[in-house]
């Protein structure tokens, strides 16, 4: 297009205005991408977990323990290949603000059930299994606190009173996010020894021979324990994780409404700026028409100018969001692990930028196209 230099000159005439408008579009789309990523990250976290593993929890509530004796009976259920169990420990390291997940697990069976979802050197695994006060820690958590292999750390129990000193014997990397790198795993027996009359597994993990057996296994397990004093609620691991995500409440509605408000507010800024520019150029457009610029061409020139601002802002804002969150390891204090701006969000952001360009450029562009040259030139000095 040979008139691009003209568009550029127009943009550069009010450098400050162009920069400020582009910056506000960029900020808006940065914010939009951030808000939408909260929603997509929550959704993604709800889809973590395997369909070939099931979680057996107490039907009363997740906070109730299940008897240790269930392990044998679960192993005997047709379709179940392996069984393990875990307990939510909820200890405090240093300060409640330094929260991270701690699971008291049955080491061997737990690491077997989750085989393939993490990587842990065999010698470290052996050291962890051998020593009752040992623990394994995710790489991210190690880095966060600057821990070293072999170091002792002390947790203060909230549910399980007292101080608990653990020795770090292994550092694992996650392969699947279900085995989060932001967590610590240690021996269930350590907790059990201190409170033998009270402590028992918080939930059981079943590994199925075949994921398609899940519905039968679920109803079979629940029917075994239906009339016991500890009835169970069995579901796939994925459903178990999704239930925690829904506990946040209607986050997506909140984020989407704010996102709409942001986009609309910025539309006003961009449209206003385009209109200000157009008003100042009435006489100029008159001159262009007189020297032979067609209506259609003038319409296009204004639209291109509006698009340059909207798309330039979009690329900046969306790019910043993409470049900032994931590499910096942002996770909202551990509440949103794996926070990332998805391709879908980027596409949606670009779509909004196109709409923004259309909405902010349309009126000034139409005005320019329809302008009566004679009237416009009346103002020329």
């Amino acid at each position: 297009m040979r008139f691009l230099p003209l568009v550029w000159a127009n943009l550069m005439r009010h450098k400050r205005r162009t920069v400020l408008t582009t910056a506000s579009v960029a900020l808006a789309l940065f914010l939009f991408a951030s808000l939408r990523s909260v929603v997509t990250t929550l959704q993604a976290n709800g889809e973590v977990g395997s369909e070939s593993r099931m979680i057996v929890q107490s039907a009363k509530a997740i906070t109730f323990f299940l008897p240790r004796s269930y392990e044998e009976r679960l192993l005997a259920v047709p379709g179940v290949q392996a069984v393990s169990f875990a307990l939510w420990f909820n200890g405090v390291y240093r300060d409640p603000k330094d929260f991270f997940a701690q699971f008291a697990v049955d080491p061997e069976s737990y690491l077997d059930v989750y085989a393939g979802d993490y990587s842990l050197p065999p010698d470290q695994r052996a050291a962890f299994v051998r020593e009752r006060t040992a623990c394994i820690v995710g790489k991210r958590l190690m880095d966060k606190f600057g821990w070293r292999l072999g170091q002792n750390i002390t947790l203060r129990g909230t549910i399980f009173q007292g101080d608990w000193t653990l020795t770090i014997r292994g550092v694992y990397r996650e392969i699947d996010p279900i085995f989060s790198e932001d967590a610590l795993h240690f021996h269930y027996d350590m907790v059990y020894e201190r409170y033998p009359r009270w402590v028992s597994p918080g939930w059981y993990v079943l590994k199925l021979k075949d994921p398609s057996l899940a519905p039968q296994v679920a109803s079979f397990v629940d029917s075994i324990f239906k009339n016991s004093s500890d009835p169970t609620k069995t579901g796939t691991e994925r459903a178990f994780n999704a239930s925690f995500v829904t506990m946040w409440g209607n986050v997506s509605f909140l984020m989407n409404s704010i996102g709409m408000a942001v986009v609309f507010a910025i539309l006003l800024v961009a449209a206003n700026s385009m209109m200000l520019s157009a008003r100042e150029r009435i006489s100029e457009v008159g001159v262009l028409k007189t020297v032979g610029f067609g209506d259609g061409l003038l319409f296009r020139l204004v639209m291109i100018e509006a698009s340059a601002i909207a798309l330039g802002g979009a690329v900046l804002g969306l790019g910043a969001a993409k470049a900032l969150f994931r590499p910096s390891g942002f996770s909202a204090m551990g509440f949103l692990p794996g926070f990332d701006v998805t391709a879908g969000t980027l596409a949606l952001g670009l779509g909004i930028a196109v709409l923004l360009a259309l909405a902010s450029g349309l009126v000034p562009a139409l005005n320019a196209a329809r302008l009566n040259a004679v009237q416009a030139l009346r103002h020329v000095e």
Binding site: R16, T21, K60, I62, G249, I258, A261, V262, I266, N272
Partner: protein, 386 residues
């Protein structure tokens, strides 16, 4: 010598579309700002109102929530015998040993389960927690499988009408009534008799003991008595402070979001105001030169344009308040992660929040108007008037 404000207002009205767009932009920012603060405030108030400064809540030593606490019957009896406890009309101490247990209850509309707190109390609890009122039906009868539901949670559950039966802990419980408690977290709970609820949890323990102080000023002394007693391993908290602290995690998140989101939005809106005001100054160069020639000092011109920007933003701020007001009272719910259970609360717009919104808009106006106003004040008269 001041330039009358009416000059600025008339100037704004000369370019209605541009002024309206700028004001609307500010209005949206202020609206979102107020909504976010109202959300954080509502959540906080639900928990703050739960506790009374006259009450003491006793938990097991080191327990950070009612969920992780446990107090044996013998200890509860020792606590209830403290002389500092107020006595009711019947001469018995106003102390309520309570069972606290989250249970799965069927959600309304077949939406699966919800984790809801079931609190086992004595009849004394209705006097200790004096903001609790039965609004439908009656209290549960001691010795029966009956419960009363908080109004906030009743609307979220299936079979929650008075006379219906809800199921948890392997038994059915008749809903004897609904209670309200001034918007506090209790409204998200199910209350039954502690002796009936204790078997649900297995084990002969209460989770907390709540009691009313005869003299609230003696809290520190009472706390020392309890915490120094070698027979007990407990922490005593002022009830109001304990529940307020429970809201801290989510409140930090909400406040961070409010600042992050509205901060970025505000920068965008300020940029919009800067554009508008620069354009205004540019198109009124002649006028400004005339004003300066007439003898208005540059500082009056500066003040006048600042006032114009502030006024424009103020209109936006007020509009934002109007837009945000209807959200007041809307009920939403989330999980109180300290108890792992559902907590329903309302958006609460307070006059203080509205004032902050308006002040916020003024700040945006002044920030956006400053540089353009300075430009106006420095216009070289001779050149401009040529």
């Amino acid at each position: 010598m001041k330039i009358p404000l009416i000059y600025n207002i008339r100037s704004l009205l000369r370019r209605p579309v541009s002024s309206a767009m700028t004001a609307l932009g500010v209005a949206l920012v202020v609206g979102v700002f107020i909504a976010m603060l109202a959300l954080a405030n509502g959540f906080k108030m639900a928990l703050v109102r739960t506790g009374s400064p006259d009450n003491v809540l006793v938990l097991r030593k080191g327990a950070d929530s009612e969920l992780s606490s446990g107090i044996g019957r013998d200890n509860a009896a020792i606590i209830a015998a403290l002389p500092e406890i107020a006595t009711g009309a019947d001469g018995r101490p106003l102390a309520s040993p309570e069972v606290f247990v989250p249970v799965n209850l069927a959600a309304a509309g077949g939406g699966g389960d919800r984790l809801v707190v079931a609190r086992g109390v004595t009849t004394q609890a209705f006097e200790v927690r004096h903001n609790v009122r039965i609004v439908a039906g009656r209290r549960f009868a001691p010795g029966r499988d009956e419960v009363v539901l908080g109004t906030a949670i009743a609307s979220l559950l299936a079979h929650s009408a008075v006379g219906d039966t809800i199921h948890f802990g392997g038994r059915g419980w008749m809903v004897a009534g609904h209670f309200s408690s001034g918007g506090s977290a209790f409204e998200s709970e199910v209350w039954g008799e502690n002796e009936q609820l204790m078997p649900v949890l297995r084990g002969q323990v209460y989770q907390v003991v709540a009691f009313r102080l005869a003299n609230p000023a003696l809290f520190d002394q009472t706390r020392r008595t309890l915490e120094d007693d070698p027979r007990l391993q407990v922490d005593a908290h002022r009830e109001s402070e304990f529940y307020a602290a429970q809201s801290s995690v989510l409140r930090i998140i909400l406040n961070f979001l409010a600042v992050f989101i509205t901060g970025i939005m505000a920068i965008g809106a300020v940029f919009g105001a800067v554009n508008t005001m620069y354009a205004a100054v540019a198109s009124r160069t002649d006028e400004i030169a005339v004003l300066l020639t007439l003898g208005f000092p540059p500082r009056s011109v500066l003040a006048s344009f600042l006032a114009e920007a502030a006024f424009l933003a103020l209109v936006g701020g007020l509009l934002g308040c109007l837009v945000a007001l209807p959200i007041n009272g809307i009920v939403t719910s989330t999980t109180n992660w300290s108890s792992f259970s559902q907590l329903a609360f309302q958006f609460m717009v307070t006059p203080g929040i509205l004032v902050r919104g308006v002040l916020f808009s003024l700040v945006m106006g002044v920030l956006g108007g400053f540089f353009p106003a300075r430009r106006a004040a420095r216009i070289p008269v001779v050149e401009a008037i040529r």
